[in-house]
Amino acid sequence: MLAQAVTFMSKPLEGISPTRRRALGLALLAIALLVMPIVNNNDGDIDTAANAMSYGILALGLNIVVGFAGLLDLGYAAFFAIGAYYYGIFTAFQVMPLWSEYWAPFAYIGLVEKFNQGGPDLVHFTLSFWLALPTAAVVSAGCGIAFGAPTLRLRGDYLAIVTLGFGEIVPIVARNVDSVTNGAAGLNGVQGPSLFGYHFGVASTPYYYVGLALLALLIFVSIRLRDSRIGRAWMAIREDETAASAMGIDLVRFKLLAFAIGAGFAGVAGVFFVAKLQTATPEMFNFSVSSMLLVMVVLGGMGSVWGVVLGAVLLQLMQTWLLPQVTEFAHAIGDLVGSAYLQGLDLVQWTQLFFGLILIFMMLFRREGLIPAVKKIPALSFEAQTANVTRGGFLNLANIPRWDPGTGNALEIRGVTVKFGGLVALNGIDITVPAGGVVAVIGPNGSGKSTLFNVITGLVHSDGGSIKYNGRELLGLKPHDILKLGVARTFQNIRLFSNLTVLENVMIGRHARLRSNPVSAVLHTPGNVTEERGARHAVDNIIAMFGNRLTPRLRQTVSGLSYANRRRVEIARALASRPGILLLDEPTAGMNPAETLELADQIKSLHELGLTILIIEHKLDVVTKLASNVIVLDHGEKIAEGTPDHVRRDEHVLTAYLGRAARAAVQETVDAV
């Protein structure tokens, strides 16, 4: 029945494109929200709606920290308090220094006024609400950076407990610094805003519209950030920190940015909330507020902008409408059946119990929230899945700019040693990769090959030696700086950003070559638009190199791809950074012979385009096909080096691979023949 009704009613919509349908829906929603206070002129309802908006703003801010960047912040309300007290202190009659002539210029621009209540002249701060909104965002963001700088290096779960502590400290400070905050009693006489001479006072309607405007603005900001280089960097950090930093993302910087912007949102909400209530008490910002915001984000969907706003609205509705209604209903039934328990029931006091239950149920049964951030993409059609794949080297190379390898050596590794406790993983290794060349590293398991890649890309510390890329020392640099210089890599055990799409993964590879900052990303400045378009174009070209392997799957999340396709995405991601040298860690591991051959051809195409390549590989046919020079590692030592043919016959290599006895047996066979 219901399904039929929906189908019938949506009939007229079929001719409209999804984008226009969205725009239409948004417009209808906006109109409904704009006329709501006129249609329903109930001050209590409008006040509730205005409160819901401030919680919506807070949920949006927390979503940037928790949902986008994956940093579990359990003390987010602290920044709400900072914004609130910032505005409160600079408008209330609490902090009032003695008047002196130095204050006159501030009085002239309207920040303070002379105040006399008998006794000496005092200074009364009169910070304008409109000025307070942006400055509170800046102040809170500053506090976010000050708090985040030492703590954001911590592992995720430690961060949760440290933020919890911070969220506890701020209300304690507010409670105990009486002279500034008036302690537990709270600030008195916080000024409401006024606009063109109209004082907002205590009526709810003006606050409703201000809240609506702020909420709309911050939804817009959230969406713009999410779809920009910044948002992609955050999501990469959330999915895999190591891979993110290896793809050129400065972890500390972008985590701090998420923390600061999230805190900024809370600062704005704090000013709005306090101006509306015209008081600020420490209890308004304790742990239960932080956890309520977490419930909103979890309920709506972590990382989902519309989801968290919905979460805020639903929780507000639950508290102010649903629970009182059900309580009244229960009382009525209690009267009817004469149950004293039902008559005395007050479900509003159960609010936090429901919060806890919501957290548990969402985590157990619907972790992605009511409106998931990741859209489900229908699987490919049978035709697309079984389409004839294109084999051979890379295709569509016309659009890929050639590399100019230059002359001399691209990579020079001299005497590099890495120790893990007592184990020497690499011992004084020397490797030279000529510009434009392909060098292969082989060796038994545990011989130090992957450690070699990790030390080149800055993921492990070296205990001596030197690694120079185009004459620049890499040792001591952070992974993201090394990528920026032009050294990109893939991982042995594929490290993609699993919940992101193919397109997003490869776009993140482009990160280091882009410049957008939060301001240009939000404003869509011409520079930002050109840059994004250029990046997309370059990424499309790279994906097109794989023929019809990846192109039809652009919008699929990589966790659903086949193993070989995930390998391809990882190579595409590394190429998107336009590296000067590509480090491939066992690219054909786990591939069948046909796929291996295809990939070998593709790597050869890259070499022919002039790209310098260092490759770890077990399959000797691949090595023979690609490499001009082969380096053999065993137990952290370089035991041989030379052309593939030379290395194949080397005695040390045979011993290392086959063991002494087997080696002798082989020798006997060879001798016998």
């Binding site: 995720g156 502590g165 936090q352 957290l359 985590m363």
Partner: protein, 309 residues
């Protein structure tokens, strides 16, 4: 009182607080060591334990501060109360693990931690709704025996707390070091995958960790009541955070570390209360937590938890 007496008195107070924090910290450390999970429900399992202890003692006929017992009846009452509270809290912990956390064990990300926050909230609010938010008069059958050492006072309850804490910690150390299940627990902490392949029943180990830590939290709830003569719905948060700080300070995953950390935090709390005032004690403790995490994340005795990444 001379300053020496003040020092001695604060040392006595600090050791008593520290014994409680150590018992709670052990719970964090055991679970974190095995599952890399900060178990926020531990905060309120402790609080529930204190409520159960109160109801048990009342059921045994101990009323407020009026009933004073000595000798065998006292020992019997205490043993029964400890047994009841430790078993019920242990069962609560096992239930939490089995039904709410096990389905999330292999889920990446903060899902399990968020669930424990939800559980903590539910426990808190169930007690709030059923028993109310007022401070309850915790029944205390201990005779008011006290010894004066200079100007400082050492009460019987403090000696009792120390003794119980030492017995429980000794038992736990024996369990973890020398029993088969304890060894399985340590093996799982190092590498669950390898432990499973060596025939360790990981599910049982995890369940045991939750049972032991929740039972200790329950015992701690009873001790808390005997020490402060009160039970209140909001005691879990402050004590829990201190205990977590203690676990981190000692080195998370490290059983002796949790005991050392607990005692240190107790001493720091009592001296901070003396020096900067009780209103700021929380700030001192959290500040310490941040400093330890930033400058010595492995804690004093070294972190024994596996480092999965």
């Amino acid at each position: 009182m001379t300053s020496m007496d003040v020092f001695l008195q604060q040392a006595i107070n600090g050791l008593s607080l520290g014994s409680m924090y150590a018992l709670l910290a052990l719970g964090f450390t055991l679970v974190y060591g095995i599952m890399e999970l900060i178990n926020f429900s531990h905060f309120n399992v402790f609080m529930v334990g204190s409520m159960i202890a109160m109801l048990t003692l009342e059921a045994l006929g101990v009323v407020g501060q009026e009933t004073v017992m000595t000798g065998l009846p006292l020992a019997a009452v205490l043993i029964v109360a400890f047994a009841v509270v430790m078993l019920t809290c242990g069962a609560l912990g096992v239930g939490i693990e089995r039904f709410l956390l096990r389905p999330l064990r292999n889920v990446k990300g903060p899902a399990a931690m968020i669930t424990t926050i939800g559980i903590s909230y539910v426990l808190f609010n169930v007690v709030l709704i059923t028993l109310g938010s007022d401070a309850k008069n915790f029944p205390n059958p201990l005779p008011p025996i006290k010894f004066e050492i200079g100007g400082a006072v050492l009460r019987l309850r403090e000696i009792l707390i120390w003794a119980i804490a030492i017995i429980l910690m000794g038992g736990l150390t024996y369990f973890v070091q020398f029993t088969k299940l304890g060894k399985a627990m340590r093996a799982t902490a190092q590498d669950p995958e390898a432990a499973r392949m060596m025939g360790v029943k990981v599910d049982r180990v995890v369940m045991m960790a939750f049972f032991v830590s929740s039972a200790l939290a329950g015992a701690c709830g009873l001790i808390f009541g005997l020490y402060y003569n009160l039970a209140k719905v909001d005691i879990g948060f402050a004590a829990g955070l201190r205990a977590f700080t203690a676990a981190v300070l000692g080195g998370i995953g490290n059983v002796p570390g949790a005991m050392l950390g607990g005692v240190l935090i107790g001493l720091i709390e009592s001296s901070a209360g003396q020096i900067v005032g009780t209103a700021w004690t929380d700030v001192v403790i959290f500040g310490l937590l941040v400093l330890v995490l930033v400058f010595r994340p492995a804690g004093l005795l070294g972190r024994l938890a596996p480092n999965k990444s």
